[in-house]
Amino acid sequence: MQHKLLSLCLPLLAPCLFFLFWEYAATAIDNELILPPLEQIIALLAHPGENLISMGTLAGNIGISMVRVLSGYALAVMIGVPLGVAMGYYGGLFRLLNAFLGMFRPIPPLAWVPLVLAWFGVASLATLANLPRGELYFYCNNLKLSMLFIIFIGALFPVLTSSVHGVRTVNRTLIDSARVLGATEKDIFLKILLPAASPSIVNGLRIGLGVAWMCLVSAEMLPGSLSGVGYLITHAYTVGRTDVVIAGMISISAVGALLDFGFQWIEKRKYAWKQLSR
């Protein structure tokens, strides 16, 4: 009983010490620009609907950021998973593309920024689709092509690599055992390859979403951006609102953890066999 309580408290110990230290440092420094006190941040987070220094609300900005990330991410998934599975399945396609894609893999998404700006400028989904001005235009204009690209490129490689790896490492004996039962190529693909590769694919989806979310700030620093958590952080910095910067950072952390938690839950529930089978 005592032991259980202790093990429950243990993970809380480090955060508590951290916040204590923060409080202490904030009072000692006594400069809101360098380190605002904890209460100030909590107050900001407690009222996410409040309008902040003409940058919209915290909640609103998080919402816009999430839509951006999910759009770029969805694109990466729609291309990454089928391409990865195909590359894992067809050796020829793998040899054709692997070295080529490998050239782009090491480039940090942020390094694409200048090029992406030159290509897309401030074009958005709204201008691309030639939408009439109106509410829809307003929303779609928030989805700048340059941002989507940065998020897309960040999420693509984890998704692609895990899909390729998942399919390529499927146990040959499992495939053979289906073939001797009379399985067609389609059976093998649907009943063996996909289920066998799916833990790895889902793991890639999870890492990809994490990376996409991390690319957020860099994407929202791009010109033409007038909203989003990343914009909030960079803009708050220029007007000296460190408290808003930190509140934004905490929101990014919280949303990121929440998204990741969803995937963890799926992995635990659906892919327990992967860990349990030797």
């Binding site: 055992s177 073939r179 001797v180 039962l181 067609t184 059976d187 009943k191 289920p195 066998a196 349990l276």
Partner: protein, 270 residues
């Protein structure tokens, strides 16, 4: 009755190893397997037993010669030729039931039919209570029984078995050997069974095929004329076992293959 079900004619197989050198795995193997026959192939590790079986299953191409199933060349895997693998081969994400009914599922049977088949064959291998279990919840011996049930549930005409009991302890092994013979009484099938246990071969087979070390050739084919159920204490049984062991021994004593023997000791002593 005596037309061969499976017939290998001068089968050769070589592999191209990574550094451009060819490995001769199977060398000029000819063998006729007749209806309802139980053939055991024994030979030292690496002599090409698995390779031969994979060719017979249509999973591997031949370098030379041909393998016929009822007078048709085997070019691709087919439902009539089932196989139980040396390695672990159950689908780990499926329940035992859905593993056993994989064959009927591929054949497009309905859910109800599939479940009935799974029930029947799981009962046959004494695993009726484990239909809803996942493979990782089973012991090694139980998994191999599921693999056997899966192969049988597809109603193959010939069943190829590649050291199905190789990874099991001596006691479980003997138990499953007995069970396999019992199952065969009810479901007449032609079986080609690979092992490197000489005792196992003599216990199970109608004929024992003794292979030489790599490149695998057939050294002799010995009929086992001991009535079943066989008694391991029977002098004829002991004589035959000793004779086969002796054959394998003189083969593996050759210096060129001494290394292979070291890495995979014969399990015949069991």
């Amino acid at each position: 009755m005596n037309t061969p079900v499976l017939s290998a004619r001068n089968v050769h197989k070589h592999f191209l190893a990574g550094h451009g050198e060819t490995i001769q795995a199977v060398n000029d193997v000819s063998l006729d397997v007749v209806e309802n026959e139980f053939i055991c192939i024994v030979g030292p590790s690496g002599c090409g037993k698995s390779t031969f079986l994979r060719m017979a299953a249509g999973l591997e191409s031949l370098s030379q010669g041909e393998i016929l199933y009822r007078n048709q060349p085997v070019r691709a895997p087919r439902r009539e030729i089932g196989m139980v693998f040396q390695e672990y081969s159950l689908l780990p994400w499926r329940t035992v039931r859905d593993n056993v009914s994989l064959g009927p599922e591929i054949a497009g049977r309905s859910r109800a039919e599939r479940d009935a088949v799974a029930r029947e064959y799981l009962a046959l291998v004494n695993l009726g209570d484990f239909a809803s279990a996942m493979p990782h919840e089973l012991s090694g011996g139980m998994r191999q029984r599921v693999a056997i049930a899966r192969a049988l549930a597809n109603k193959p005409d010939v069943l190829l078995m590649d050291e199905p009991f190789g990874a099991l302890d001596a006691h479980t092994r003997i138990l499953l050997q007995r069970e396999l013979l019992r199952i065969r009484e009810h479901h007449k099938t032609t079986i080609v069974f690979v092992t490197h246990g000489v005792d196992e071969a003599v216990y199970l087979a109608d004929r024992v095929v003794v292979m030489t070390p790599r490149p695998g050739r057939i050294r002799t084919v010995l009929p086992v004329d001991i009535p079943r159920p066989r008694d391991r204490a029977d002098p004829a049984y002991a004589r035959l076992t000793a004779a086969i062991l002796d054959m394998l021994d003189t083969e593996t004593a050759a210096p060129a293959t001494a290394k292979e023997e070291e890495s995979c000791p014969s399990q015949a002593s069991m």
